[in-house]
């Protein structure tokens, strides 16, 4: 699509890149078919093609973006189903990412909205604060009926069950491989996941050790930066990104080296794989960031590479595999999780309209509760339709969004793989296998 972004504006390399990406769009409309917000809203402005047009106008006009443009860009889930389906190869993820940075830099949000976004970034990227926030939320939860909008959505998301205690595995340490060591990896322990469901990292570590992998939880690594990045807040995101890169490179360049950085939350994995792009213009960090991105894999990619050991039990359960957007669209990982579950003896069932986002999308369910709620309902109905005994996914965000509504246990893929190859039965599934 032709654009007339001024050469002055294009002096900013991010704007120049945006111009190139917009130029690749031929306005064919195929992306509308896979856009969850378009399926809900049916308005071109809430479709990828419409947002590309809005961003084109935003850059062409310069100055402060108008409130409507910001509203429609905010409504994008960043699920990237559009990028995965686009026949013209439009790199929408980069376009919307830089678009959001542009909004953050040039648009003044109303004070309440701005404060909410700041609080979310702060809370989500710091496990200890997040834990305290959830405790406060549990106190406030009974009063949520009095509220509406994002605050209500936040309280709705607070788990009703008591939180698991902080897991000892998430502290910096080394877990030796069982049997001979065939590989050494760094595990992103993460932030939100460690608080909400510590069993995931525990299962990951057992599974990897059993397969001859030594795991490092590197000192200095923490949140991947995605919550801030989703809001276009690179000032908050980049220090976290750099801290992770530095921590992992210390390991990689140490005496024992590092074969991979392993991520078991696909939302975080998508971010880490994009570190190279995020820091490409920073001469001090570009090469280091690219190196980390290149060695980053999702746990399912790593297990697929290693090969799963024969299962020691045969639970034979029917598993509805929910492909997280960050997994299937962001990282284009579709085959491996299904193949691993099948190799572990599970019957893998695909969920109809599997390309559709569940509405979790990082902080989306908190900032856009109406659309997120509609998408949740649709996803829950689709999962219930397949007649599975358990649902599995590779992303904590989706699990939190859906677990209370699907009517069956919802676990992380690694928990099933760990169970089948000798680990404990995941909580909630004990009765399923006699």
């Amino acid at each position: 699509m032709l654009n007339t972004i001024s050469p002055a504006a294009k002096a900013d390399p991010n704007v120049a890149l945006a111009g190139e990406i917009i130029g690749a769009c031929v306005h064919c409309g195929i992306c509308l078919s896979h856009c969850p917000t378009y399926q809900v809203r049916h308005d071109e402005n809430d479709s990828p093609r419409g947002r590309i047009f809005l961003m084109k106008e935003m850059y062409e006009r310069g100055g402060s973006p108008d409130v409507r443009t910001v509203e429609h860009l905010d409504r994008c889930l960043t699920c990237l189903a559009c990028e995965a389906i686009c026949p013209s190869g439009v790199e929408y993820s980069k376009l919307i990412g830089h678009g959001r940075e542009h909004v953050a830099a040039h648009y003044r949000r109303p004070p309440a909205q701005a404060a909410l976004r700041r609080i979310l970034v702060t809370l989500l990227s710091r496990p200890r604060l997040f834990r305290m926030g959830l405790a406060a939320g549990r106190v406030g939860r009974p009063f949520r009926a009095l509220l509406s909008g994002p605050l209500r959505a936040m309280l709705d998301m607070v788990p009703t069950a008591p939180l698991p205690a902080p897991s000892p595995v998430d502290r910096p340490q080394i877990f030796p491989a069982e049997g001979g060591r065939r590989m050494r990896v760094a595990l992103l322990a993460g932030c939100v996941q460690t608080v909400l469901d510590s069993a995931i990292n525990e299962a990951t570590i057992r599974l990897l050790r059993r397969h001859g992998v030594e795991i490092v939880v590197a000192a200095g690594a923490g949140c991947c930066g995605a919550p801030a990045e989703h809001m276009g807040d690179s000032a908050q995101a980049l220090p976290l990104v750099k801290a992770n890169i530095a921590a992992w490179l210390r390991e990689a360049d140490g005496p024992d080296g590092l074969d991979a950085v392993v991520v078991n939350a696909s939302g975080c994995g998508t971010s880490v794989k994009a570190y190279g792009h995020a820091l490409r213009l920073d001469p001090a960090w570009a090469a280091r960031a690219a190196r980390i991105s290149a060695m980053t894999v999702d746990i399912s990619e790593l297990m697929d590479r290693i090969g799963l050991r024969p299962p020691v039990i045969r639970p034979g359960l029917r598993v509805a595999y929910h492909a997280a957007c960050s997994m299937q669209h962001g990282q284009r990982i579709t085959r491996q999780p299904r193949a691993l579950l099948a190799a572990a003896g599970f019957t893998v069932l695909d969920i109809p309209d599997g390309y559709m986002c569940c509405g979790s999308a990082g902080t989306y369910n908190l900032l856009q509760p109406v659309i997120a709620g509609e998408l949740k309902q649709r996803k829950v109905a689709a999962i219930r339709m397949v007649g599975a005994q358990v649902a599995a996914s590779g992303n904590i965000g989706c699990m939190t969004q859906l677990a209370d509504a699907v009517g069956i246990p919802f676990v992380h893929t690694v928990q099933l793989l760990d169970w089948a190859t000798g680990g404990p039965c995941p909580a909630g599934l004990e009765g399923c296998f006699a």
């Binding site: 699509m1 031929v26 064919c28 409309g29 402005n45 047009f53 686009c86 013209s88 190869g89």
Partner: protein
């Protein structure tokens, strides 16, 4: 492309019109903010753009009735739009017109398996019908390349074709009932909800199908469902020259074989879709024919043998046959995404749509090569060879001054050549604004006049999608034909039948 001058008086009343439309469809479904109107500036063809006066997104036939009645009363023009994938500018907005977007009417009203029909609202994407019919062993056959998103209402408006139309027919062969709203706000119902329902009446369904939104807004469609073929396999046949491929097309059709699809891709298109196809092709391949054969397994095997024989005679250098359904789907998917994939090879492209008698294929391809040299613009070819429906893809750079004009002139020359070779201006994309000014090349004044008389019968105020299809205004008022005005007939005292 020259459009009628916008009416400044109407444009000055935007605010007032928006308020009245909001009372019909609800506040959030009228877009009057300029930022939100601009993404609607174009449909599938970006060369033609205009910001609509207002965008309205109704949710029901009743709302569309009220919107049209209001617009007629106020003398406001209306442009209907589905998903905005037209390749002829059929949904190009007017600066003094309301853009009526039908995407919210997206319910599949009924699947009637016993009568083998589906009743659907106009905003349902084409592919959704086949998806809903598949569990019953049925499908909706017309499959334009945009089927993932183009709406069935838009398909009816443009009489869309697609890969499978060679054997199964166009949209017009698959519609048995229509509900449509006239510009007056009245609803008309044609045909019915079973196959054959329209057989006994004047074929107004045929008239509305392909009328490009000039006669009425189609709101609900009853389509014929067809049993899914028991099996289907696609042969991909590579040829070292375009002429050999063309000869093979003629041989297959001449032998009395009706493939389910017979498609042509040249080398450039093949390169563009290589990553989608996930197949290597012989570097000598200058053209690829895709030939789908469907039916029972025995029938398909026999046909494959015959087609292979014909292809060998025509000099095919590489013949493959799909082994799995997944492989077959992948081949068609790459064909259907070919136009968008071309986007990776050039800044901009302009894809046009003419149809010629099949035996003139080599002549028109020669002419295209000649025109490409004249205009200095590259092009690629990907088209429905079986029914002689061409889609030359002309590559240009909109940022280079004069390039768009050259591309348009190139396209127009190709279309004129089609007509001169005994063909027609459009196979399936419609006339819209893109081919509007070429209509006089195909039609004599009397032909065009009679088409305009029909337009006037449906929309005497010329408010529905004006400026499209006809190179001149219809001047309905000058006909002096009998019109109903305010419920009163002219000359009420004259005795009638």
């Amino acid at each position: 492309m020259r459009m009628p001058d916008p009416d400044r008086g109407i444009m000055a009343r935007r605010g007032e019109l928006a308020a009245r439309l909001r009372r019909i469809v609800g506040a959030q479904w009228v877009l009057d903010d300029e930022a939100e109107r601009r993404p609607y500036r174009c449909d599938g063809i970006t060369a033609y753009q205009a910001t609509p006066l207002l965008v309205v997104l109704p949710a029901s036939t009743a709302e569309i009735q009220a919107v049209l009645a209001l617009c007629r009363e106020q003398g406001v023009k209306v442009v209907p739009r589905g998903s905005g994938t037209s390749l002829s500018g059929g949904a190009l907005p007017l600066e003094d017109g309301v853009l009526l977007v039908t995407s919210r009417l997206c319910a599949i009203v009924a699947m009637d398996v016993e009568n083998r029909v589906a009743r659907v609202q106009c905003g349902v994407p084409n592919i959704r019908i086949s998806e809903a019919a598949r569990p019953f062993g049925l499908c909706y056959m017309p499959d334009p390349s945009s089927q993932m998103i183009s709406t069935i209402g838009g398909n009816v408006a443009e009489n869309s074709g697609g890969v499978h139309c060679l054997k199964y027919g166009m949209t017009s062969n698959h519609v048995v009932g229509l509900e449509a709203v006239l510009m007056s706000g009245e609803v008309i119902r044609l045909g019915g909800a079973f196959q054959g329902a329209a057989d006994g009446e004047l074929d107004l369904i045929g008239l509305l199908t392909g009328s490009e939104g000039l006669l009425a807004v189609v709101t609900e469609i009853t389509v014929r469902l067809v049993p899914l073929p028991e099996a289907a396999r696609v042969m991909s046949m590579g040829f070292a020259s375009v002429e050999d491929a063309c000869r093979c097309v003629g041989a297959i059709i001449g032998a009395g074989i009706i493939p389910a699809g017979l498609e042509f891709m040249d080398r450039k298109v093949l390169n563009a879709v290589a990553s989608l196809l996930r197949e290597e092709h012989d570097p000598r391949t200058a053209a690829l024919l895709l030939c789908e054969l469907d039916g029972t397994a025995a029938e398909i095997d026999a046909l494959i043998d015959r087609v292979r024989g014909l292809a060998d005679q025509a000099g095919a250098i590489d013949i493959r046959t799909s082994r799995t359904e997944e492989e077959r789907e992948r081949i068609w998917r790459s064909r259907k995404l070919a136009f968008s994939a071309i986007g990776k090879m050039c800044k901009d492209y302009y894809c046009t749509d003419g149809t010629i008698p099949r035996n003139r294929l080599p002549d028109i391809l020669d002419r295209m090569a000649e025109l490409s040299r004249t205009y200095g613009l590259d092009y690629a070819n990907c088209f429905h060879a079986g029914d002689g429906n061409l889609h030359p893809i002309i590559m240009y750079d909109a940022a280079r001054p004069g390039d768009l004009d050259k591309a348009e002139a190139f396209g127009a020359d190709v279309l004129r050549a089609c007509v001169d070779m005994g063909g027609v201006l459009s196979g399936e994309h419609g006339v819209g604004v893109e081919k509007r000014d070429l209509m006089t090349h195909q039609f004599a004044p009397a032909d065009l006049r009679q088409q305009q008389v029909l337009k006037c019968a449906f929309d005497p105020g010329e408010l529905l999608n004006p400026g499209k299809v006809f190179p001149t205004p219809c001047r309905c008022a000058e006909f002096g034909r009998m019109h109903v005005r305010g419920g009163e007939m002219r000359f009420p005292d004259i005795p009638r039948f």
